[in-house]
């Protein structure tokens, strides 16, 4: 192995005898018989029938949203909490209810723990659910999480009986803090909300997966189906997709693509990918070759 990479690549594996090209990018996994490939996603003791969670924002019409929700196969979808608009006739909660999709209220737009806590409490009152996708952002240009406010809000909401699913940075230490605060899952971003930049730091996502004792949901940044597939291959338990579907040219078709990508990525993760190799390795035997 070492001989194979002698020369100019010899020193590229910093701090290790094996160059990075030869290392498997996914962490070593041990077989867990309690988690077969077709195992259900379970959050806070509740089975969620799909590993694709949908965001409902950004769609151009209620009909398109309905089609995308149905074709995605999702069982859990986020909604925002906003002032009532007396001119709006359709009810998002009724739509989700009619499709048997669980409502996951979010605290989108909140900049402080106190704003997020009030929003979560309003959501609990309005939708009769203890579940909340906790978002506390630091600025409106990047929409990146403010971890200090986020952890503070998570602690208070957990104490108040909420099932807290925090949207967080792709930082393993932040994710650990949130899990220690009692969150029912952690939802690290792949890249900024709505950016479609995919997973900018797959290694951090793999580290979060490796250490997490709660489900890991890749949230934010998914641009297309391959991003969702990679998230699952990295070992995430689920993926949350909003803009990549709702703002796609054909949302319904993208919803199907995301559904299939999540399933494919999950299966590939469970199957166990081959180790990356620096050079080729023949799959046909050399024995028995015709001699000329």
């Amino acid at each position: 192995m070492e001989r194979a990479v002698a020369g100019r690549n010899r020193n590229r594996g910093i701090g290790t005898a094996v160059p990075w090209e030869l290392m498997d990018a996914t962490p070593p996994r041990t077989h867990d018989p309690s988690s077969p490939p077709d195992a259900d996603l379970v959050i806070a003791g509740q089975v969620i029938a799909s590993r694709l969670i949908l965001g409902t924002g950004g769609m151009t019409s209620p009909q398109s949203l309905r089609e995308a929700l149905v074709d995605s196969g999702t069982a859990l979808a986020t909604v925002a909490v906003r002032r009532v608009d007396p001119t709006t006739r359709h009810s998002l909660v009724d739509l989700l209810g009619s499709l048997d999709i669980q409502v996951l209220p979010n605290t989108a737009g909140c900049f402080t723990a106190s704003d997020a806590i009030l929003t979560a409490k309003l959501a609990r009152e309005a939708f009769e659910t203890d579940w909340v996708k906790l978002e506390v952002i630091g600025d409106d240009r990047t929409l990146l999480p403010d971890i200090v406010e986020l952890v503070a809000a998570a602690e208070e909401l957990v104490d108040d009986g909420f099932v807290v699913l925090p949207y967080c940075s792709d930082d393993p230490i932040a994710a650990r803090r949130l899990e220690q605060a009692g969150c029912a899952a952690v939802m690290p971003l792949g890249s900024p909300i709505g950016s479609g930049l995919g997973i900018r730091n797959p290694h951090n996502i793999a580290l979060i997966v490796e250490q997490a004792g709660v489900p890991v949901v890749l949230d934010a940044g998914i641009g297309t189906a391959s991003d969702a597939c990679v998230a699952m291959e990295l070992g995430c338990d689920a993926v949350l997709v909003a803009s990549a579907i709702t703002r796609a040219h054909q949302p319904r078709l993208m919803a199907r693509a995301m559904r299939d990508a999540v399933q494919a990525g999950r299966a590939a993760r469970e199957a166990g990918r081959i180790t990356r190799r620096y050079h080729a390795r023949a799959s046909s035997p050399f024995e028995g070759m015709v001699e000329t």
């Binding site: 924002g57 986020t78 909490v81 009810s91 309005a126």
Partner: protein, 67 residues
């Protein structure tokens, strides 16, 4: 008259108006609705008994498409 802010806009009504009566004016149905009064959630079970008073800031919220 009782003058309050509802979702940021001035609103006036008869003295003794309850949260339940206010919600009925603003929404077709109380389903999927929550109310905050001066920054605190008003539980649905207390809407009938809670009278708004002048100067209150009322927020009436529901689900909107999002994230």
């Amino acid at each position: 008259m009782t003058v309050v802010l509802v979702n940021g806009a001035p609103w006036d009504g008869p003295p003794g108006t309850t949260v339940a009566a206010l919600v009925a004016q603003w929404c077709e149905s109380p389903r999927g609705i929550a109310v905050a009064r001066n920054g605190d959630v008003v539980p649905k079970s207390t809407w009938e008994a809670t009278q708004i008073t002048s100067g209150d800031q009322i927020e009436i919220v529901t689900a909107a498409a999002g994230g």
